[in-house]
């Protein structure tokens, strides 16, 4: 405990340096003849996973040179941006398709070159791997592509750098995926790298995509070494997934202590993320008597055993681990709102009160709690909740008007 406290103090200084972005720009580069599933697969993955991570907002958009284009012969698409007005991307997605003239277009080439330099992650799908050629990013890394393209890649690249039989190859900044539907897997891996493994898993479950299995691809570097190095060099800005994936990798090697440390680091760097505690619960489950449930199990408790039981577990967890987050902000809001819809206001009040306790900086949760209390005619409690909320949101008009309504009654 003393050790970890010391660690915490060390980290506080580096927290200031870490440049953690809230919104990440996810650019889907499209063109006339682009293969539909090549870019919509990753588009769906990022759009859906944006819901499951409470660390980032994924701003997904399409960019093209053309003003209007057709994909798969049938779908007429208007891109959100052109090459001049597109925002700088954090994740650049390069899909395959009937791209002959686009590969040779100098304007496109120079745009892609700049974007690759600027982005933190690049994902290619199918023949999209050839967009890496002109900027000189294809040499020296391990890659994969569609089964028809693999032999051609082998003609120009070192044979051992071209990997078949895999859904994706992660070479660090650049991830290449195999053909068409493999872009879904490549994108889920990318989400693991950025927002965490469990966020990718939840996204796959939402998409009803049981084929997702991280081990069907290949990661060509040592995740654990990478994370260890990051711990030593505190200057480096990083994303949540770095320690998270390394943690799961360590868990798979039964190195629970190391896994624990990685997840613990994430809980310090990303204090608002329940996902970090999900990993911690897994890492600690066999070493101590009682570990709070993972957020998924906890949601099941709220759904199946009721809010009362949930509150008991919540109180127990807070007593032993004061900082532990049992649920994500979004999950608790949805649960509470569903209870309101079911007219189970009492349970909703309990759920929202836990939400406010865990996420006191969320105005929406405060207001939902107050409204539940008003509906239950608990005006004294509602007034207390308003004063609590006003501490975090002084002079907030919505809160003040609620207060006025209560006082006039």
């Amino acid at each position: 405990m003393k050790n970890s406290l010391l660690f915490f103090l060390l980290l506080v200084s580096s927290l200031v340096k870490a440049q953690i972005k809230d919104t990440l720009n996810i650019a889907l580069f499209v063109y006339d003849g682009v293969e539909l599933l090549d870019f919509t697969g990753p588009g769906e993955v990022f759009a859906a996973s944006s819901y499951y991570t409470n660390l980032y907002h994924f701003n997904v958009y399409t960019v093209a040179k053309e003003e209007q284009l057709t994909s798969q012969d049938f779908l007429s698409i208007t891109p959100n941006y052109n090459l001049d007005n597109a925002p700088k991307s954090d994740v650049l997605i390069l899909p395959g398709g009937n791209a002959g003239s686009v590969f040779n277009d100098r304007t496109v080439q120079s745009w892609i070159k700049d974007e690759i330099e600027n982005a933190t992650n690049v994902l290619t799908v199918c023949s999209g791997v050839y967009f890496l050629e002109k900027p000189g990013k294809l040499e020296g890394i391990k890659v994969t592509s569609h089964h028809k393209i693999i032999p051609f890649l082998r003609e120009t690249l070192d044979a051992e750098n071209v990997i078949d039989d895999v859904k994706y190859v992660d070479s660090g900044k650049i991830v290449t995926s195999a053909g068409v539907s493999s872009g879904i897997e490549g994108a889920l891996l990318m989400v693991s790298k950025i927002a965490g493994y469990e966020v990718a898993n939840r996204t796959a479950r939402y998409m009803e995509y049981p084929q997702w299995d991280i081990s069907n691809g290949r990661i060509t570097y040592d995740l654990i070494k990478n994370a260890d190095a990051l711990l030593e060099d505190k200057e480096e800005p990083f994303v949540f997934g770095t320690f998270d994936l390394a943690g799961y990798k360590a868990l798979s090697e039964n190195d629970k202590e190391r896994a624990h440390n990685f997840f613990y680091q994430n809980s310090l760097y990303f204090p608002k993320s329940a996902t970090a505690y999900y990993g911690l619960a897994k890492a600690m489950s066999s070493t101590i008597d009682w570990v709070p449930p993972t957020y998924e199990d906890y949601l099941d408790v709220l759904r199946n055993d009721g809010a009362e039981k949930g509150r008991k577990i919540y109180d127990k967890a807070k007593k032993i681990f004061p900082d532990w987050l049992l649920f994500t902000q979004k999950d608790i809001k949805v649960r509470g709102s569903n209870l309101l819809n079911e007219e189970n206001i009492q349970a909703a009040e309990l759920v929202f009160s836990m939400g406010v306790d865990s996420y006191p900086n969320d105005l929406e949760l405060h207001i939902q709690l107050i409204e539940a209390q008003i509906r239950l005619k608990k005006s004294k409690k509602a007034k207390e909740s308003i004063s609590m909320a006003l501490v975090h949101f002084p002079k907030n008009e919505q809160l003040l008007s609620l207060e006025q309504i209560l006082n006039s009654k």
Partner: protein, 380 residues
């Protein structure tokens, strides 16, 4: 708990350590146009000068021109000279109408469109008005038709994503009810609500996105809601579960209408890990009838070897009638497509078997590595 189970990372580096030798250097005939353009730096307009095409097969490869004679890798037919096309009857392509509402889930529509396009159908998009549609807030699509000018479709398809309110739109539902010449109705995810509202699912079995199952059941008591199926086929009406289940549903439609081989080739092209027959069917026709026929599968059991050390073992699981490829002691199911052709569970690669003059299976070749594995003679 998650259906992915506990953390099953396995070994990151070596998951598919297959015994097969993967050194493929066999030069291929042109398949992806894009690709040749990259390699040889040719312009697309030069393509017209090439003289070979595959006979009309109603697949996307109908549009590909080849530089030299040979076999089309998409449909396995022998290539013909372009002018010989006139000798073939024109194929009547099925027309599929995709109804799009604003907020439609992008993978819901993209998965089936990819499948149907590759399988050779003509797909068009319809919406209430022709105004642009924002799919999941990220993709801007311009529909081809509105309700008043949409042509009749052989199949109409509805998708999830913001479908609850639009499914109550009486003008749309009236239009849907009036499509008397449409033979098939297909829905992905919560798109089932449109079909339910129009009464198309009445007294039929249907499924939908797992979070919408209750809504469908409570809102439409005449619908027999099935839980846990990837798709449900009633013959003319097929409904699928959520999002990516639309890909399985569409592959099923292709298997049903064009035969299992075409569906398998589509899955292979898409590198989609397809498990055929994973849905529930109450239809009269069954494209998978022979898939688990013990007497057929038995002919392929045995050990197959390359001239080198690579080896494939095919073993029939008598309990479930599943033929498995055994690799490193692990069973990988393979699926019977048609006589002497199988689909593997990894990226839908295709296995092709050869027989000798006595009709005995003697060798197998996989699209995965193009090597010929000969059956060990002592098996005979």
């Amino acid at each position: 708990m998650s259906f992915l189970g506990p953390i099953h990372f396995g070994n990151f580096e070596t998951q598919y350590n297959r015994p097969m030798n993967t050194g493929v250097q066999k030069k291929m005939t042109l398949i992806l146009l894009t690709f040749q353009i990259v390699i040889y730096g040719q312009d697309a307009s030069n393509m017209d000068s090439y003289g070979y095409v595959c006979p009309p097969c109603n697949r996307k490869c109908d549009n590909i021109k080849f530089t030299e004679p040979g076999i089309c890798e998409h449909c396995n037919m022998e290539l013909i000279k372009e002018h010989e096309l006139m000798d073939y009857p024109k194929i009547n392509r099925k027309r599929i109408g995709f109804y799009l509402q604003s907020g439609v889930e992008i993978l819901d529509l993209a998965g089936p469109m990819e499948v149907f396009a590759y399988a050779g159908y003509e797909v068009f998009t319809i919406s209430k008005t022709k105004e642009q549609i924002y799919a999941q807030g990220i993709l801007t699509v311009t529909p081809d038709y509105n309700l008043s000018d949409a042509p009749e479709a052989d199949m109409l398809v509805f998708f999830g994503g913001n479908s609850v309110l639009p499914s109550k739109d009486m003008e749309l539902i009236q239009w849907l009810k009036s499509q008397k010449n449409t033979e098939y109705f297909f829905s992905v995810c919560s798109g089932a609500l449109f079909l339910a509202e129009a009464g198309i699912l009445d007294n039929k079995k249907a499924t939908t996105f797992r979070y919408v199952l209750d809504v469908l059941e409570e809102g439409y008591p005449k619908v027999d809601v099935i839980r846990g199926a990837r798709y449900v086929d009633n013959g003319r009406v097929v409904t699928t579960a959520g999002v990516s289940a639309g890909i399985d549903g569409a592959l099923h439609m292709v298997a049903k209408l064009e035969g299992l081989p075409k569906a398998a080739e589509t899955a292979f092209y898409m590198e989609y890990d397809w498990v055929p027959n994973r849905g529930m069917s109450f239809a009269d026709t069954n494209p998978y009838a022979q898939m688990n026929d013990f007497s057929i599968l038995k002919q392929y059991e045995g050990i197959f070897k390359t001239e080198g050390e690579s080896e494939i073992i095919l073993e029939l699981d008598q309990s479930d009638g599943q033929l498995n490829m055994v690799l490193n002691g692990k069973n990988h199911p393979i699926f019977y497509i048609e006589k002497d052709r199988f689909l593997t569970s990894h990226a839908s690669h295709l296995l092709t078997f050869q027989r000798d003059s006595e009709n005995y299976v003697i060798e197998v070749e996989s699209t995965e590595n193009k090597e010929v594995f000969k059956r060990k003679s002592n098996e005979q």
